[in-house]
């Protein structure tokens, strides 16, 4: 039982990392400046690394569980979990799957997500689940850099030209409604928190808002006026936006077309 909670919780963390990595990687070779092409690719790489560690752990859990789900199927691995689940089984938050849009939208998505992930991993380091704690600790160094990099860009765009300021506001309009879900725990998150393994994400909200507002203030972006706005949710429970199906069709195309092959 605890195993299944941890399994779902771990998958959720892994899916977040993988889907955002997949999105960010679309920039590779198409960035606005070479140095930033490298930077966003680097973040992609960090996130894929996190996803791999988490999927590997989830695979261990499911393979060892003897649960009905694991019977008669090929053993789970990082790749079966990433490549052979469909969009209704993916547990990533909606924010991660949103399109790249322009550079402002990519930056803001990263800033929102990394700030959240930073707070989450900080707490997850203390998890009694040694594997999750270790992954969180290792990842935290990377995420600290993601937060700094994306914060600097938010400030640069917000306090840059009129155009960059407007584009950032537009990005905010596109993405704000997907931030609420980060702090609304899904069933398995609640249970993982109860079991002491996971983090109660609702407790991260205040600090997240503070940190976001600090950077927004420096970026000359209004820090109020968004209270009470409607928040989309569902991704963590597998009810995604129409984006995810297309992401997965591409991501999974090879494994689906050549099942059971080694690469």
């Amino acid at each position: 039982m605890t195993n299944e909670i941890t399994y779902n919780y771990t998958l959720h963390l892994a899916d977040n990392a993988l889907i955002l990595a997949q999105r960010n990687s679309e920039w590779c070779g198409h960035g606005p400046v070479l140095e930033q092409d490298i930077a966003i690719t680097n973040i992609s790489l960090d996130l894929i690394g996190q996803a791999r560690s988490l999927y590997q752990y989830a695979a261990e859990l499911i393979n060892g569980s003897g649960s009905p789900a694991s019977e008669g199927k090929q053993a789970a691995s990082e790749d079966t979990l990433a490549y052979l689940r469909d969009s209704r089984e993916y547990k990533n938050c909606l924010l991660a799957e949103q399109p790249n849009g322009d550079w402002a939208q990519t930056i803001l998505r990263q800033f929102f997500f990394s700030t959240y992930q930073f707070l989450l991993y900080q707490r997850l380091q203390q998890s009694p689940d040694a594997t999750l704690a270790a992954i969180a600790e290792k990842s935290l160094k990377e995420v600290t850099y993601h937060v700094r990099w994306s914060s600097e860009w938010v400030i640069r765009l917000g306090d840059g030209t009129e155009e960059s300021h407007d584009r950032l506001l537009n990005a905010l309009d596109e993405l704000w409604m997907f931030t609420g879900e980060l702090f609304m725990p899904a069933g398995y998150e609640l249970e993982a928190a109860k079991a002491g393994i996971g983090v109660d994400v609702s407790t991260l909200k205040t600090e997240w808002e503070q940190r976001v507002n600090e950077i927004f203030a420096e970026a000359t972006i209004p820090t109020s006026g968004r209270e009470g706005g409607w928040m989309q949710s569902g991704g963590k429970e597998g009810v995604h936006t129409e984006q995810l199906g297309f992401i997965l069709a591409e991501l999974q195309s090879m494994q689906r077309a050549y099942p059971g092959s080694e690469w």
Partner: protein
């Protein structure tokens, strides 16, 4: 000092294998040749990101995805080193990039071929990077200091890439019938273009002689090509695959592989802009650059604002 005297010093340095450095006097033609070659090399790294980037979203395993992403990122890094090396010769990165976008500057023609299957990612690593390395290893000893030093850094990563490419093909070669067919098909499509990477025959090569004299180049196109063929003809056996050349044959006397004639019509045609992806590659680079204009502007305006604020604080 007179130009003659300066030139004498310059040539004696070349003679004694002393690197030429940015502040040293150098002949205009030497400078121009280097700018052309280094920026062409830089552009090749940048444009080269596109055919491989094309498979990042579809890499068949997470491990391969991470390796590919890191590889393409390395290429961006190589581009940076080389743009910097070119800058030491007095051109700005922006100028250099404009020359690419206007079609004035060239890049390696190999990147005008499409990546059609996952096997192509393996073939690019093994064959294209393999060919590039031979050239780059030679350039580690090139006479211009900053270029030589950039090459040393690049070579280390590049040989890693070649092994990764080979490893992709090795996995395919050990896989299902479909995978083995994919492997052979990629080798078939990339073999000849990779031979073309070494450029025209020595007898047809316009810049070669002077470059050799100045020790920019230290081996001829045909010498490098032969080295490449000898290397690959052995490695392909490990894959249990074949190279698509009926004339390929070990020549016991020469201690080299003989091989068939390259289709030079195709080579010149692709150089002229008629490859399968010339338009697509340049369009992609231009689009990235144009759509990034507001980002670069915002960054520079912000940097100025910040500087002004700091100066005000100090004052």
């Amino acid at each position: 000092m007179s130009v003659q005297e300066l030139e004498k010093i310059f040539l004696s340095k070349i003679e004694q294998e002393i690197k030429i450095e940015p502040k040293d006097w150098m002949p205009d033609a030497y400078r121009k040749t280097l700018v052309r070659q280094i920026s062409q090399h830089a552009h090749s790294e940048i444009v080269g990101m596109l055919p491989e980037g094309n498979w990042i979203s579809r890499a068949p395993s997470l491990k391969r995805k991470a390796i590919l992403l890191a590889k393409v990122q390395d290429e961006a890094g190589h581009g940076l080193y080389l743009y910097s090396a070119a800058e030491t010769l007095g051109t700005t990165r922006e100028q250099t990039i404009n020359d690419l976008h206007s079609g004035k500057a060239k890049y390696s023609s190999i990147f005008n071929y499409p990546t059609l299957t996952w096997g192509d990612i393996g073939a690019i690593g093994w064959l294209v990077d393999g060919a590039a390395i031979l050239n780059q290893v030679m350039l580690c000893r090139t006479s211009y200091g900053p270029y030589a030093r950039a090459m040393v850094r690049i070579c280390k990563e590049e040989s890693f890439h070649q092994r990764q490419g080979f490893d992709i093909l090795l996995a395919l070669s050990k896989g299902t019938a479909e995978q083995r067919a994919m492997c052979q098909d990629s080798i078939n499509r990339w073999w000849w273009p990779s031979l073309m990477m070494f450029g025209p025959h020595d007898s047809e090569s316009t810049h070669s002689e002077q470059s050799t004299q100045w020790k920019i180049k230290r081996m001829s196109n045909d010498e490098l090509r032969q080295k490449f063929v000898d290397m690959i003809a052995e490695q392909v056996k490990v894959l249990n695959m074949t190279l698509p050349d009926p004339h390929l044959k070990w020549n016991e006397q020469a201690k080299h592989y003989d091989f068939g004639e390259i289709n030079w019509t195709e080579f010149w045609n692709v150089v002229k802009g008629n490859g399968p992806c010339n338009k697509q590659r340049l369009d992609a680079r231009r689009k990235a650059w144009d759509e990034g204009a507001w980002v670069r502007e915002a960054a520079s305006v912000y940097a100025e604002k910040r500087k002004a604020r700091q100066e005000k604080q100090i004052a």
